[in-house]
Every structure is written in structure tokens, then in C-alpha cells.
Symmetry: C2
Subunit: 334 residues, 2 copies
């Protein structure tokens, strides 16, 4: 079957989509090479929050550049990490700031670029510390860090860290805020269909007509949990149950929940799953305080979602609810 | 092929998805029967902005309830208008306000319910005026009003009207603001795949492997423009060209552009199309000032988008950029 996508020359995909984002949100985003920065930079006496990652997952990561979230997103080609030099150029832009927090999602290419860039930045006396997001639990609760990928949980983490930075906290304080959030967050993905790579049309993950897979990675990496398609409530029960175990959710605790659509999954379905999770939390004596039902990090047109469970306290909730200028962060109330 | 959707009993779809939205956004949305209202109502000395429509198009319409946009969304079942009595109940909730603007999308069921409810409301001396959104141009520029459907253009219109209401303008003034915006807006949709009705699994629109259709309606109603799949730039050229003609776009004018994904279309593709339109406007001497690349009104998992061209002045741009508390309105800059 011919790949059906509205694109032009495959080799220009990344630059064209970034130019499109800039054209839609010129008050917020500015493109400098393959680094997306804020149109209105924050003041230099504050910590900058930066991330890196391949394109093809829009609106992540560049759509979260803006007040209260990212200062810059360093972009690679489709599903490919940016190289270390591009990342170093991104870091250099913020060398005069009060420090840089670099948020790294746990994928081999991203980690390699980040490690190299961090070494080079250290030689230039750029004050940068990094945090690794690896909240995927599909490989099991006791799995090796290598098998725990960074999924869309990076987005609420960036919101919380970005809020701390905006308040003028020091780099160590911003890092501590991010690490605290990182310690009680877990994600599990499910897919009902695969998708196609937009540059070569190759299928990414293939699933049978009646099959779904729990644990699907961001590039179609299997998680092993293939089963017959289940109802929204049954799917929620399996996934929320595992996530609650992973973060050791206890009665009386507060939850911020994200149902992140990865492509063709309808917001209708995602809302129904959110409802089910909200009831499951209640049965455990915990409470889903609020959350997000949206596409925040997609895997092309894959029909599925990532469920992200964050155990939060009042301070973290306040940070999640705080003002944001990023085009794709959801307003949770005024 | 079995329908692959995360749902439970089909007859409970609508209520379950609304409960899910409420669970995610409790600070913003409250469910009263099948009417979604603000959790924090505006003061009664202001005009209320209300709309009605079938479910299955999430996040529209209920996801746009919130400060600066809707006061209430009266919800029907999947792809079905709410009945007149449900709408009347919605209108009654706002009878003590400074008036009600009812935004009606031009679909037979919605128009029938609206007309009946407006008559009943008049008998009860409820001060309500309505505006019909019928900005679809797929039936041709001189087509009968019956053939011009209301598509996702209602969302920016609601933003502009909602901002006027929030400022304390009178009902006639809010209506005038909405009518002015309505007079320079046009939408055209394109689809590459059909989708399935979530209650009965029936296919909605069927397209060949190499086919796309320009003019696709919100429930799969064909627009007649079947053709071989085209590139992003070629597709943009056809669609933007027709829209510019429809609104009589002139050199020097300002454009607010929305690329609304209807389901499986990736934000990556939508951004590339946005970029193309921005260049096309420039070639005409006009300027795309800013816009939205997002799913604001979906047609289940249909792979396609609606392109909405709004010719705007500075006042309207200001209204579009003004603060909103609705979960699914995009922040266009702080």
C-alpha cells in the first residue's frame, strides 16, 4: 500500500515542519538552524531548560518551547537524535544564563549525543546539568535502565522544571525539582495499529486485525504484551494497575494523569480511558486530581496511546497548573 | 475488518467521554446532564456564548468551554444533534445573563433543534440570538446555503465572540463581532482515508489506495473532489487558492490560518501544509500572521485535515490572542 501522507521531498521533512511551526506561532517560537528557541527569551539570571530529540513526534518536543516550559529544543531528523555538535550549539546559546538543565530521553542516540555534548560543554565552562527520563515500565519493574525508554512523561516533567526555572530557582534547585518529579512517574503505551516511517514508507510495528500490544515503544519497539483487543475499561485496568505498582501508588495520594494519543487514536477514546483510570484510582483510595487528554508526543499515525501516571503533591500540582506560553501545553484552569 | 477502538458499550460512549473530560479538567468543565458548563461561571451581567452539536468530534465542541470561549456546550449522541428540549434546558441555565449568543453549525439536525429551542425560549422570554456558521466552500462559491456546512471554523469564531462577551459587550455587540468574523471565513477539508462510526463500526467514506478527496464533510459527506494523492505543497495550493477566492483575499490583508487535523493526519504533515500556505499568502501580498496546527474538531480517525482561512484585522487578532481558559484552545503567545 502506498504511504498516504501530505509531505513533499522526504529529505526536507524536518526543516519544513519546523518552518511550519514557526509560521503558526511566531510570537512564541523562533527557528535558529535546527534549534527551536523562544521568540521572547527569558532573562539571563534564570536557568534555561533545554531538550533534544528526533522529529516525527510532533507536537513534541519543539511545541513545548515557550514561557514556563522549554527555552530550546534541539531537533534531529525523523526518529533520529541530533548530533552532539548541534546540541553543543544549542547549549552555547545559553552559556550566559544562570545555568542549563538538559532533559534527555533515554534512547541510545539521544544519550550518546548528550554525553558527548556535555563533555564538550564542560571544556567550555558551560554550566549544564542533565536529567535522564526513563519512565517506560514495559520491560518490567526491575528492568535494566537500558530497557527503560523515555516516553511522553518528559512533557509534564519539563512543565514542572520550567516553572521552577521561571521562578528564578538555581540550577541545583531546578534539577532537584525535576528529579523529585522523575522519581514518581511511570508510563506504559498501547498500540492497536502500526504506522509508517514518513521518509521511506516502511511499516513501523505490524499488528494483527484483532491484536493490540501493551508496551509499544516510541518507534514501534515491541513491549511484548500482545493480546486480543480489549475494551477501554479492561485496557485501563491492566495499564493503570501496572503503573500504580511501578510508582507504588498509595491510598490518599494525588495523581496527575496524561493520556497521550500517539496518532490515530481519537480524543473520544482517550477521554473514555481517562474516566476509567479516574475510577480505578478512586477504588485504591487515591485521586486523579486532573490531567491531560491530548496528543502531546505522537508516533506518526499509530492508533494507540501512552498512559502517564505522575504521583504529585500540592506544590507539583501548582507548577503543572501554572501559566504556560507553549503552544501545545494544555490550560488546566485559570 | 474489526473496528479497533478503545471503547466500552457503544450506547454509553457519549456520557463516558464527557465524564472523562470532566475528570481531566475539573477546574474548567462541569457536566450537568448532557450540557457541559464552566466550573467557574462568568458573572451574569455578561453575555453567555453557547453551542450545540453531536459527540464524536472531540475535542470540539465541549473542549472549548472555559474562560474567554464557551459558557456551555449542549451535546448530542455520536454524530447526532441534541434534541430541542436538551438545548432549551441549556439555554434556561443562562436566562438571567445579559443575553445568550447561540452558535449553530449548519447541519440539518442542529439547525432543526436550534430553531425549535429558539421558539420555545422566546415564549419564556429568554434573550437569545443565534448565528449560523456555514463556512464550508466544497459545494462551490455560489452554492445554496443548504449545501454549505458548518465546519471547524466555528472554533475561532467562538474565540472572537467569547472574548467580546468577556469584555462585557452587549448581546447585539457580541453578535456583530461574530457576524463580522463569519463574513470573512472559509473552510475546505481533505481526506486520504475514511473512518468508522464508533457505535456500529460502519465505514464513513471509503477512498481508494491512491485517492484523496477535497471537500470531505464532517461525517464523510463527499465533496466531489476525488483525485490522486498529491504532495503537501500541491494540496495546499489547490485548497488555499480556492479559499482565498472564497473570502476574496486581497494584497495587504492579514490571515489567521487553522490546519485542523481530523484524526490520523500527523501534526508533522499539518505543519508542512501550514508552511506552504504561509508562502502562498506571501505570493499574493497577504500575510499569515499566525494560526493553529492541531486537532480542534475531529472526524474519528479520518486521515485528513480542514483548512480554515480567516481574514482578520488587528482587533480580531487581539481577540484570538487573548487569554483563554478552555483546555483545547492553543496559547498563541503570552
Amino acid at each position: 500500500m502506498k504511504m498516504k501522507k501530505f509531505i513533499n521531498a522526504p529529505e526536507n521533512l524536518t526543516i519544513e515542519l519546523l518552518e511550519g511551526l514557526q509560521a503558526a506561532y511566531p510570537n512564541t517560537l523562533k527557528l535558529e538552524g535546527k534549534v527551536v528557541v523562544r521568540a521572547k527569551p527569558k532573562s539571563k539570571d534564570k536557568v534555561a531548560v533545554i531538550t533534544l530529540g528526533g522529529a516525527g513526534h510532533e507536537p513534541a518536543l519543539s511545541g513545548f518551547v515557550g514561557y514556563g516550559m522549554l527555552d530550546a529544543s534541539v531537533v534531529g531528523d525523523i526518529f533520529a537524535a541530533p548530533n552532539a555538535m548541534t546540541l553543543l550549539e544549542g547549549l552555547r546559546k545559553f552559556k550566559d544564563y544562570a545555568g542549563i538543565l538538559l532533559v534527555v530521553l533515554n534512547h541510545a542516540g539521544d544519550v550518546m549525543s548528550a554525553n558527548m555534548a556535555l563533555k564538550m560543554a564542560a571544556r567550555e565552562n558551560i554550566n549544564v546539568k542533565s536529567i535522564l527520563v526513563a519512565e517506560d515500565i514495559s520491560a518490567g519493574l526491575d528492568s535494566d535502565i537500558k530497557d527503560r525508554r523515555g516516553l511522553a512523561g518528559c512533557i509534564p516533567l519539563i512543565k514542572v522544571a520550567g516553572d521552577a526555572a521561571e521562578q528564578g530557582k538555581s540550577l541545583d534547585e531546578v534539577l532537584a525539582v525535576a528529579e523529585k518529579f522523575n522519581s514518581r512517574i511511570a508510563t506504559l503505551a498501547v498500540a492497536m495499529t502500526g504506522c509508517t516511517h514518513p521518509q521511506n514508507g516502511d511499516p513501523i510495528a505490524e499488528l494483527g486485525e484483532d491484536e493490540m500490544e501493551i508496551g509499544m515503544g516510541q518507534h514501534g519497539e515491541g513491549g511484548g504484551g500482545r493480546m486480543e483487543v480489549k475494551s477501554a475499561d479492561e485496557t485501563a485496568k491492566i495499564m493503570f494497575g501496572n503503573l500504580a505498582k511501578a510508582v507504588d501508588l498509595k491510598a490518599g495520594e494525588k495523581v496527575f494523569l496524561v493520556i497521550n494519543g500517539t496518532g490515530a487514536c481519537t480524543p473520544m477514546e482517550m477521554a473514555i480511558v481517562f474516566r476509567a483510570c479516574s475510577k480505578l484510582a478512586e477504588e485504591m483510595g487515591a485521586k486523579v486530581e486532573c490531567g491531560i487528554i491530548d496528543e502531546i508526543l505522537t508516533v506518526q499515525e499509530m492508533a494507540g496511546f501512552q498512559m502517564i501516571l505522575c504521583v504529585v503533591d500540592d506544590e507539583q500540582l501548582k507548577a503543572l497548573n501554572a501559566k504556560s506560553g507553549a503552544p501545545y501545553w494544555t490550560c488546566l484552569g485559570e
